[in-house]
């Protein structure tokens, strides 16, 4: 098959970008979308043109590195990661528009590569259970109802790709943050720190410049792992409860 690609090209963070058009012939329907870009890049290099830069790594839908905005949708027309998208999804002669994730908190590094370190900083602000290595109870010491464990697992499958942010008209990161907050709010291991955790993570999310949630559910519709917006509702409850009750016990100074 034959396709025409309209690709966002941007030299670096400071330079203004623009679309470039590339016709591509002999595309096999069995190619993955990224393999199609590999083929294009190889022909660009042969012509002495700078290849298109895009993020990718595992190419099996789990690392969350690939991040292309295709025909106006994050990861393209299917609810998968772009590395799992195949050319058979497109039709012969189609024009395909490829852009980077667009969000203030995800600045473009080059072409289709964006900086998602804001996600890491949110996780660093509280996305953990404070246990050191060693000295923990036996794994079966605390039974967890299967239903709760399964629900925590569903939240924990987030791959941190950022499609939720790219899909949202407000560039909100609520789905991403709520997935981690939910996982730990549900599990007994996360309970001791649940109030501080949600407060810190939300504060960091705001500081990074992500927008607010207006319940359009575009994030859930585009999430390649099907993370549910019920996690956002749970995070809102956690946040509300925390804002009413956390730090009730004043921290004592060392002099007492």
């Amino acid at each position: 098959m034959k396709v025409t690609l309209k690709v966002w090209r941007q030299k670096d963070a400071k330079t203004k970008g623009a679309f470039a058009t590339y016709p591509l012939d002999h595309v096999s329907t069995d190619m993955s979308f990224l393999e199609m870009l590999d083929v294009l890049n190889s022909s660009l290099i042969q012509k002495g043109e700078d290849p298109i830069h895009f993020d990718h790594d595992c190419r099996e839908g789990i690392c969350g590195m690939c991040s292309l905005y295709i025909n106006g949708r994050p990861h393209g027309p299917l609810q998968t990661t772009v590395c799992q998208l195949h050319m058979r999804t497109f039709h012969d002669g189609e024009t395909i528009t490829i852009e980077p994730w667009r969000a203030k908190a995800f600045p473009v590094i080059k072409d289709l590569v964006v900086d998602r370190s804001a996600f890491d900083r949110i996780q660093q602000s509280g996305g953990y259970v404070s246990v050191n290595t060693g000295g923990v109870p036996d794994a079966n010491a605390i039974p967890i109802p299967k239903k709760i464990a399964d629900e925590a697992f569903d939240a924990a499958t987030c791959i941190g790709c950022g499609a939720c942010v790219a899909a949202c008209k407000n560039a909100s990161a609520m789905l991403f943050v709520s997935a981690k907050v939910s996982q730990f709010a549900l599990l007994p291991q996360g309970k001791p720190e649940r109030k501080e955790r949600v407060e810190k993570m939300v504060a960091q999310m705001d500081a990074e410049g992500f927008g607010s949630c207006t319940n359009t559910k575009a994030c859930e519709a585009e999430c390649p792992k099907g993370i549910s917006v019920t996690n956002i509702a749970r995070m809102n409850r956690e946040y509300f409860a925390a804002s009413l009750s956390s730090y009730e016990v004043p921290l004592k100074g060392s002099g007492d």
């Binding site: 290099i45 595992c58 590195m65 998602r116 996780q123 996305g127 259970v129 039974p143 464990a149």
Partner: protein, 641 residues
Amino acid sequence: MKLDSKIPEGPLAEKWTKHKFNLKLVNPANKRKYEVIVVGTGLAGASAAASLAELGYNVKAFCYQDSPRRAHSIAAQGGINAAKNYRNDGDSVFRLFYDTIKGGDYRAREANVHRLAEVSVDIIDQCVAQGVPFAREYGGLLDNRSFGGAQVSRTFYARGQTGQQLLLGAYSALNRQISNGKVKLYTRTEMLDVVVTDGKARGIITRDMVTGKIESHSAHAVLICTGGYSNVFFLSTSAKGCNVTAAWRAHKKGALFGNPCFTQIHPTCIPVSGDHQSKLTLMSESLRNDGRVWVPKTARPGLKAKDAMNIPEAERDYFLERKYPSFGNLVPRDVASRNAKQACDEGRGVGATGLAVFLDFTDAIKRDGRKTIEAKYGNLFDMYQQITGDNPYEAPMMIFPAVHYTMGGLWVDYNLMTNVPGLYALGEANFSDHGANRLGASALMQGLADGYFVIPYTLGDYLANIGWSDKVGTDHPAFKEALEGVSNRINKLLSIKGKKTVDQFHRELGLTMWEYCGMSRSEEGLKKAKKKIQELRAEFWSNVNVLGSNNELNQELEKAGRVADFLELGELMVDDALNRSESCGGHFREESQTPEGEALRQDDKFAYVAAWEYQGDNQPEVLHKEELVFENVKLTQRSYK
């Protein structure tokens, strides 16, 4: 050079406990005076960085991805073994040890493997405490399953995403230490050299992949946790970015490389669909519990899956069931892979390329109903359909083996230290625990064992012995020299401006490795491969085309540096495979077979670790042997008849 494995004296089960007591401790107040570099943030790297920072050391962690959460440990599906014996089915530390030694075809150290089995139970406790959502039963306790043909159910799992959940657990522990200021994280940063002075590792040279800035980092110790080198084959189940560069640079600075030819080929991968193929996708081998592997009895070129249903039973060859009546479709990975290749070599392969065999669920669906099969394998069937466009409920899957894991790696002693003092290797990057073949669900176990429970003890001993003042600054001439070397190499790559892309070289190398140093190897083929690799390497350095400059994000430049290292590693793998003229585990030498055509080990000649020492560019490497001593297990020949 005398290789000292530093295996402690005493009975097997007491070695680690005694050793831990004998190791020196660093005074808590002095720990903050030490700096440790951790390269790679997968299971081994993230768990090591977090655990060392918790102890009080200052850690610098590096990864080439945009976040530690992307490391390829994340893609492991099946599970993690631990000798918890929660099922009351006869598991024990000794049984896990025994299975691992035997599975590795007696080419691993007893002491290391026993320690691995011992700490396996602590790993599960640790991960649960971090909030890793393992699969549970209705009573609220952890679920287990039998995996990879094991006789006991000792595998803990989180649906088909165990690696993801374990990595995110280690990532969260790492994040906590970053937020505490004890770990400084460098993302999109690649290690390009290690600095050694007075025989000790002193730091590394890195490239910032966004700005191109080359930097020096000094420390008291350097930990290489950068995974395996399957991508030397170009097509493998590894992530595209996985590379050998960090380990190879360490090797060129004096660290020995152990058993480089030991690679694992996984039988159930989705076959190659064309020349555009960029990587291979693995499907969990649990599929072989219910799927039946077959090819037509006589060659039918180009046979499609949907036409397979028309082939009558009498004209099908269920070759694994025929040759191995007692294990059938559940023979180990290497045996299943080799037999699939053999069927295809005979011209009986199926699909457009003829490089595939059927994995058929028709009987299982008839027997158990589609619902049961869907509940067991639904996500795998969906994944298969997504990639191939075929529906495996209606026609058999097509599968073919692919390179999946490398048991070889940097040689380390019992303390996980290479022969270069202060330089350590953890996880898949070292050679130590899996011998010639790794058991399913053991890779995650080893990565986390090394990072959480071994290195925090053994590194302390080294640091206490050298003292915190034994460190060189980045202004030392050795750093300047290494930095210049890295810059020169980059400039050289950019200046060639040849006619072939990096990927073209990589594909050619991969094809050669797969053909001659893949599932089966012969002296004649290996010699051919050695010559081809040498020629390809020479051509690379005169005809590769790397566009752009160093001072920007330049993915072609990154790839070029990695492929240049693969072109050197490939030859060493071939040398190692040539030297080891026995068959063992994943290494099958055609010259060493039983009369039935099975792998024939030669314990009298090859019960040793082959550790190779670098001698300079284009010079043959020198082989050192570490004899393996077996005091607790009897060496037996595997049989799956």
